[in-house]
């Protein structure tokens, strides 16, 4: 296979690939990211293959399994080219109809299209669906266009052009200067200027130097790095190789979580293919530059995403942070200068080289340039990955793209920045999202998780959840983090269990401040953010738990009771039969009553009570009304209706 050795070779190869393709040949792209695989993308793929064979169309119709399209709420997604007809929530049963009607008959199947819930209008093209329409998909958009396991599909859309330009037309210094001028900031959490980081490693004494991709992505609720790595691994490798050239490194590492098996597989395939085509190895593209990459699978430790901890892990040691008197960019893996950037950061690099720093600077806000991918999840209609220019208002992301809150519930807050971030309340929904704004609001960008919460989310419970998560993940090396988190968890456990005391809030704040000042690594110094930001914006919820022993969102188990409203109960036996503890007493035509001493508050009765009856309710902060007297429990029916 072709070793590409020059710009001409690459252009030649590209036109050859494009020539082989018939632009009018119908082909089907099927989203095959992890989320779509979980909703049945594999069985849909098998059904497509099957049906094409049955119809004798395997030669006439192409099939391409792409990475994540981002609209996970409606997956599996298929797009039929060249018309670009987009079908959502496709099941294997839909496939024969799609092949016969749409592929053969050129007829659109209405029921599989996106329907606008407000206007009822059906939308044919992916790009016109509101979820996509308001996005700017510079980094993520190519996922739709390529097969991640086929390097040629990446080359076809201009892949490795930037690397060729760098190796043949630019000096390492010019590359560094371009990235510095672009003002690109790290997408993994801190937002440190990428160019400056590269420069430190470049100028640090010591050989060899290493460049590393951080695909540890431990933030619960964030999965954009995985989706890039699964859907477009060559883009990351190209960025990494460009960085290696600028810095003067010949060895790269990709640190990727073991929990992301598809990312590990696709990355492995991409590295093999890049070597074969001459984009990795000795004498890359005939330029004399030498560079190769090793994959290191992470073994599940949140703290290992921290730079010095990650480098320990690459050395095969326990992934615990080191004190950073000296930065890892100067002394990292095996004490050599090591430059670490996150997946999304690396994926931006080819774009900056291709289109120039000035172009990149025109997108975003004063101090945050370019776009950012967010994973919009939780209590929101359109769950998925969203890429918008820095500075887009939170409200636009959640309402215009995300489609608002399901079930007509009220918005309560949005959590950004993962376990190091905070929760932003409704009054700040119009704030532009960028690195500095989010920090000002007491949260942070983090890797881009955006978890939407509605009125049914208990803020104190969420704060406790993050502290509990970090308590498990704290490596225990430094005292403020190890002990501080444990004590905070004790206090919060007490508050959600109705044992909160006067002074708890102040004590939480005091512990938080010590952790902020005295912890060894960023895990500890930011660990208190979820607690501090919730105290700042939702202090009244803490007060309700502590003083009134009431959980306003009706979440905290110890503070709620389930109760059947006698006026509403139709004595249908549903809750009674489903109760795992036999805590509900009654019979047909006898109003059901929950025995509070037996109830374990699992909520099944609440769930199974038919919505139009709605007799089971939750009570918090006040006593459960006494059961109805025996004599009044018999229901007399009139015409089958209750009373």
């Amino acid at each position: 296979m072709p070793g590409v050795r020059s710009k001409g070779d690459l252009e030649g190869l590209r036109s050859e690939i494009l020539m082989k393709r018939d632009p009018n040949k119908p082909y089907i792209t099927l989203c095959s990211g992890t989320a779509c695989r979980a909703t049945g993308s594999d069985t849909v793929a098998a059904a497509i293959q099957n049906e094409l064979e049955k119809q004798g169309l395997t030669e006439e119709v192409g099939v391409r399994r792409t990475g994540c399209h981002g609209f996970c709420e409606r997956g599996p997604i298929i797009v039929i080219h060249p018309e670009e007809i987009c079908y959502l929530n496709v099941t294997p049963e839909d496939v024969p109809e799609i092949i016969i009607k749409t592929i053969k008959g050129k007829e659109i199947i209405d029921r599989l299209l996106y329907t606008d819930s407000s206007t009822g209008e059906r939308i044919v093209h992916e790009r016109d669906i509101p979820f996509y329409k308001y996005q700017t998909r510079l980094v993520f958009g190519d996922n739709l266009r390529i097969d991640p396991t086929d390097i040629e599909s990446y080359i076809a859309i201009g892949g490795y052009q930037a690397l060729t330009k760098v190796l043949h037309e630019m000096t390492p210094e010019e590359v560094l200067e371009e990235v510095k001028k672009s003002n690109l900031r790290g997408r993994g959490g801190g937002g440190f200027p990428t160019g400056r980081k590269w420069e430190t490693t470049k100028n640090a004494p010591g050989e060899p130097k290493y460049v590393i991709v951080n695909c540890d992505e431990g933030d619960p609720g964030a999965y954009m790095d995985r989706s890039i790595m699964e859907g477009n691994p060559h883009r990351v490798l190209e960025g990494l190789t460009i960085g290696a050239y600028a810095i003067g490194s010949h060895q790269g590492f990709v640190y990727v979580r073991q929990e992301y098996p598809l990312a590990v597989t696709n990355l492995g395939i991409a590295i093999e293919q890049a070597r074969e085509y001459g984009f990795l190895g000795d004498d890359i593209l005939g330029s004399g530059f030498e560079f190769d990459v090793k994959v290191h699978r992470g073994a599940g430790a949140f703290v290992s995403g921290e730079s010095s901890a990650l480098m320990n892990a690459i050395e095969g040691k326990v992934g615990e942070p080191r004190p950073k008197y000296v930065h890892t960019s100067e002394s990292g893996v095996w004490n050599k200068p090591s430059n670490l950037n996150n997946v999304e950061t690396w994926a931006n690099v080819p774009l900056i080289i291709d289109k120039g720093a000035a172009w990149f600077n025109a997108i975003g806000t004063e101090r945050s340039k370019g776009t950012k991918i967010f994973s919009l999840v939780g209590k929101v209609n359109n769950t998925g990955l969203v890429e918008v220019p820095m500075g887009t208002a939170l409200r636009d992301v959640i309402y215009k793209i995300g489609g608002g809150i399901p079930g007509g519930k009220r918005f309560k807050g949005v959590q950004t920045g993962g376990p190091s971030g905070g929760i932003i309340p409704e009054e700040y929904l119009d704030s532009p999202v960028d690195f500095d704004e989010l920090t000002k609001l007491g949260s942070m960008m983090g890797s881009g998780g955006m978890i939407v919460m509605d009125e049914d989310t208990c803020i104190v419970d969420i704060a406790r959840y993050f502290v509990d998560f970090l308590c498990d993940e704290s490596c225990g090396k430094c005292v403020p983090c190890r002990e501080g988190l444990k004590r905070m968890r004790e206090i919060l456990d007490g508050i959600v269990a109705g044992k909160g005391r006067e002074g708890d809030i102040e004590l939480l704040e005091e512990i938080a401040n010590v952790m902020k000042k005295a912890s060894l690594c960023a895990l500890g110094t930011t660990a208190a953010n979820p607690v501090l930001s919730t105290i700042r914006y939702f202090g009244d919820e803490y007060e309700a738990h502590i003083k009134e022993k009431r959980c306003p969102a009706l979440v905290c188990k110890e503070l709620i009771s389930y109760y059947i409203e006698p006026e509403k109960c139709i004595a249908c036996l549903r809750c009674l039969k489903s109760c795992p503890e036999g805590a509900i007493e009654g019979e047909k035509r006898v109003i059901h009553v929950i025995d509070q001493t037996k109830c374990i508050k699992c909520g099944i009765c609440f769930e199974v009570c038919p919505p139009k009856v709605g007799a089971v309710m939750m009570i918090s902060g006040k006593p459960v009304p006494p059961p109805v007297p025996e004599a009044e429990r018999v229901i007399e029916r009139r015409g089958g209706e209750r009373r």
Binding site: A35, P220, E259, H296, A299, A301, I451, I604
Partner: protein, 153 residues
């Protein structure tokens, strides 16, 4: 209990012999093959790779992906990522624990199920999510737990 074939362990060790910093990768391979890492395996690695047992235990007990206890025939993962959390995942975990009469991290005495809590599987659109032996069950409610578990013998 799953018996571990030490010859197979030797084959895995062979892949990494002579390389630096490979202990984690080696243990991950063993974990994914046998679902746990036994005392005998640790002794074998120590002997073959000339790494002190204490160092291997330190790694194997630090990382979440590695287990020093044997696991049941079916592995249940209940996602408690933030998105699942706000959609009611704690109730799913409670229900599963009550149903199996074990806590997360434990295995039933008949070795039928091991229950694990995981922090985000990245399919937040389906939350709350329960994964049993790699099968994804999405939008779960407490009342559905029993029915799902019955499918796995």
């Amino acid at each position: 209990m799953v018996e571990i074939d030490l010859n197979r362990v030797d084959e895995i060790i062979e892949r990494y012999k002579g390389e630096e910093g490979v202990l984690i990768q080696l243990l991950l391979d063993i974990q994914s093959e046998f679902n746990w890492i036994s005392r005998e395996v640790i002794a074998r690695i120590s002997e073959r790779m000339r790494i002190p047992k204490s160092q291997i235990y330190r790694i194997a007990s630090f990382y979440k992906a590695m287990s020093l206890n044997p696991v049941g025939r079916h592995i249940i993962q209940v996602c408690l990522g933030t998105a699942c959390q706000v959609r009611g995942a704690p109730k799913i975990l409670d229900r599963t624990e009550e149903n199996l009469k074990i806590k997360e991290g434990e295995t039933t005495s008949d070795m039928r199920f091991s229950l694990r809590r995981v922090n985000c599987l990245g399919c937040c659109a389906m939350g709350p999510v329960v994964v049993v032996d790699g099968d994804y069950h999405g939008k779960i409610t407490p009342a559905m737990v029993e029915e799902i578990l019955e499918k796995y013998e």
